[in-house]
């Protein structure tokens, strides 16, 4: 979710520490894995929000530098998920760049559903929303991704066409 190996490691350690400290207060209303997922997702969302705030500040300071810069996806940092198989790495790179532009809750739903492959009911429990609300979030995330990916396809097609002509 955070798309940075170092941050992901930090967050997972923080999650372990939080679990270690507050496991006594675990009520058992949900399964232990759901509870741990909830802590993890909350920490990731907190991290993404703080990163967004920092980016907003740096956006104003580097406004002039950004002028003329190409828009997404070229401005995003590269990220390689270690679990993605080699033949899908390029596509997954495009997906992660697009995912990075989604709102945090949509991103969380997509990651939990498509990457973690969790059942819808568990995702709803993790995010503390109803199953219907979760489904709606997932639909919105997919729709947003489609909108963001369509121009990438067109550009790749054009690039391919140009390189074929050369």
């Amino acid at each position: 979710m955070v798309q940075d190996a170092a941050f992901a490691e930090d967050i997972s350690q923080e999650v372990f520490v939080t679990v270690f400290k507050s496991v006594a207060g675990f009520s058992g209303k949900s399964s232990l894995s759901t509870w741990i997922y909830r802590i993890t997702v909350n920490k990731c969302i907190d991290h993404l929000r703080s990163r967004k705030r920092q980016n907003n500040v740096s956006f104003f300071s580097s406004f002039r530098q950004r002028e003329g810069a190409e828009t997404w996806p070229d401005t995003q940092a590269d990220f390689e998920h270690p679990g993605v198989v080699a033949e899908r790495k390029e596509m997954a790179g495009i997906l992660f760049r697009a995912l990075d532009t989604l709102p945090e809750n949509q991103k969380a739903v997509f990651v939990l559903s498509q990457i973690e492959e969790l059942p819808q009911r568990e995702i709803a429990e993790i995010l503390n929303v109803s199953v219907k609300a979760m489904e709606s979030l997932l639909q919105r995330a997919k729709a947003n991704l489609r909108v963001k990916l369509a121009p990438v396809y067109e550009r790749r097609k054009q690039d391919k066409h140009t390189s074929n002509n050369e």
Binding site: V84, L145, L149
Partner: protein, 104 residues
């Protein structure tokens, strides 16, 4: 027909991209992850319960009692010598609804 084919191709590509990370959860954590975690856990400052020594606790209690006695003495002496005596107003109990109704 050609446009439709193009749209279908685009849809197919988008679907492929959206499913490209499916199953990525099976990734193994880096080799040094456990080590780094243990280092972090061990490096955390331990919380120690602060136990007040018995003699300090007794001394604090004596001080508190002495202060209380001193205040009471000063107050009563002041009252005897015509100072402001404690004035207690008794509220009109009719103003209060003393009956409590529980709703279950």
């Amino acid at each position: 027909m050609l446009i439709l084919k193009g749209i279908m191709k685009q849809e197919q590509w988008i679907e492929e991209v959206m499913n490209s990370a499916a199953g990525a959860r099976r990734a193994e954590p880096p080799a040094n992850f456990t080590e780094a975690f243990m280092l972090r856990i061990n490096g955390m400052p331990e919380k120690q319960a602060t136990i007040i020594p018995l003699k300090w606790a007794v001394a604090a209690a004596i001080v508190m009692v002495t202060l209380n006695v001193a205040v009471l003495t000063a107050y009563s002496t002041n009252a005897m010598h015509g100072g402001n005596s404690p004035h207690v107003t008794t509220a009109n109990t009719d103003d209060y609804n003393t009956e409590v109704v529980y709703k279950y």
